[in-house]
């Protein structure tokens, strides 16, 4: 029987970093923080708002995302978009993920 706390720690360790890749992929189409939170959730990535908002700014600071303020609507919204550099990172991370996936396959097929 798996201990709940142990399970959640291991899941967290395994998923750490996947949110970054998911953001870079989703933000190929510009979007703002709160909407992104929902999109991620709907795609199966659970992330807390208080993790996501600072993460977006960190990625922007690293040049992986660009941002623009949209003030057309009643509330000003900061739209983020994956930059060329972010695109490059997304490709590299995706490739790595695929390789890991293939590696796990091999491990599971050959006992």
């Amino acid at each position: 029987m798996l201990d709940d706390e142990m399970l959640s720690t291991h899941l967290q360790e395994l998923r750490r970093g996947t949110v970054v890749l998911a953001c870079l992929l989703i933000l190929r189409k510009p979007n703002y923080g709160y909407a992104l939170l929902h999109l991620l959730e709907r795609s199966g990535f659970t992330v807390d708002a208080n993790t996501l908002y600072p993460l977006l700014r960190r990625l922007e600071k690293q040049g992986l995302l660009t941002s623009d303020w949209n003030t057309d609507e009643s509330r000003p919204r900061k739209f983020y978009r994956t930059s060329d550099l972010g695109e490059e990172l997304a490709r590299t991370l995706s490739r790595d993920w695929d390789e890991l996936h293939a590696a796990f396959r091999t491990l599971k097929d050959e006992p």
Partner: protein
């Protein structure tokens, strides 16, 4: 749009912004306000009351300090894994050098000032304690600052297997065993013949023993020497027999018993022979002096017995 009484959201944003660099504040505030408002709207649509919605959204966002640390990219720990090993290493080196040096220095200064034993011991222990406090505090402050210093990170020395501690060779341990035996024989012989050594003599020319005759009358001196012999025996056992828990416990117990016996004797003034002190013309402070020194040495050896015991236990 701010009203005269700040809402929960206003207070939340204010608490968060206070902890982020000022040039980021306007941007973060605009974004955070919109995000909170969007989330509140969603909950209102789901049928919550405005007050409920606001509380729920802010609860989800969690403590402002945590959120702000995320925005400011600040670590939520004092000293992280990158520096922890260096930190403990430096701390250990400083503690084992600075603290005894401070205690010894102050103790020596008090001795030179001819203060009595209790003052010497008290001031030395106090100085050691203060030094330890300063060492721990300032080292921690230093590493906390280094942890928070932005790039460039100081390159930590690459660890290589060359840095492994030298194994204590069997030869070295054998030499230690021989030294312990010799010291033991000399010490025991000295104690046993001390009543007849003629350092001081009374009017009839009889020797006055250095140690309290009460030790012989009560037979305690033999019990004490017995403990020393057992302790030496266990040292031999440790050298020749494989380490085991009963042996480790036995050694620790004997060392404890020896130390406590000596402390008890010292506290009850049963070490020096009062007649000898009088005959030698020593000041009254001499007895207290001896007592203090013996107690300090005993406490030191008790601590080292516990530390060694724990180390042996961990290495198993």
């Amino acid at each position: 749009m701010t009203t005269s009484t700040p809402t929960l959201t206003d207070r939340y944003i204010e608490a968060t912004l206070r902890r982020v660099p000022s040039r980021q504040r306007p941007d973060i505030e605009r974004e955070l306000r919109t995000s909170i408002a969007d989330a509140v709207d969603d909950r209102l649509e789901a049928g919550a009351t405005p007050a409920e919605a606001e509380v729920a959204v802010l609860t989800d966002l969690g403590e402002p300090a945590r959120l702000a640390a995320g925005y400011a990219d600040r670590p939520l720990h004092l000293i992280g894994p990158g520096f922890y090993v260096e930190y403990t290493k430096l701390l250990r080196v400083l503690l084992v050098t600075v603290v005894p040096a401070a205690a010894a220095g102050v103790g020596l200064a008090r001795v030179l000032l001819r203060r009595d034993a209790s003052a010497v011991v008290g001031d030395a222990v106090g100085a050691g304690f203060t030094a330890a406090l300063h060492v721990v505090f300032w080292t921690t402050v230093l590493f906390t600052l280094v942890e928070r210093a932005r790039s460039p990170r100081p390159p930590t020395r690459r660890w290589t297997p060359d840095a492994l501690p030298e194994p204590v060779s069997r030869r070295t341990r054998y030499a230690e065993l021989i030294a312990e035996t010799v010291a033991m024989v000399v010490f025991t012989s000295f104690i046993l013949i001390s009543p007849v050594l003629r350092f001081q003599t009374d009017g009839d020319g009889h020797a006055i023993g250095l140690l309290d005759p009460w030790l012989w009358d009560s037979g305690l001196i033999y019990a004490f020497l017995g403990l020393l012999v057992v302790s030496l025996g266990l040292s031999f056992a440790k050298y020749y027999v494989n380490p085991s828990i009963p042996l480790a416990i036995g050694r620790a117990a004997v060392e404890l018993a020896t130390g406590l016996t000596l402390i008890w004797l010292a506290v009850n003034d049963h070490i020096l022979n009062p007649a000898f002190v009088a005959a030698a013309g020593w000041s009254a402070g001499a007895t207290r002096w001896t007592t203090g020194i013996i107690i300090v040495i005993c406490i030191g050896s008790l601590v080292s017995a516990v530390v060694n015991g724990l180390r042996d236990y961990r290495q198993r």
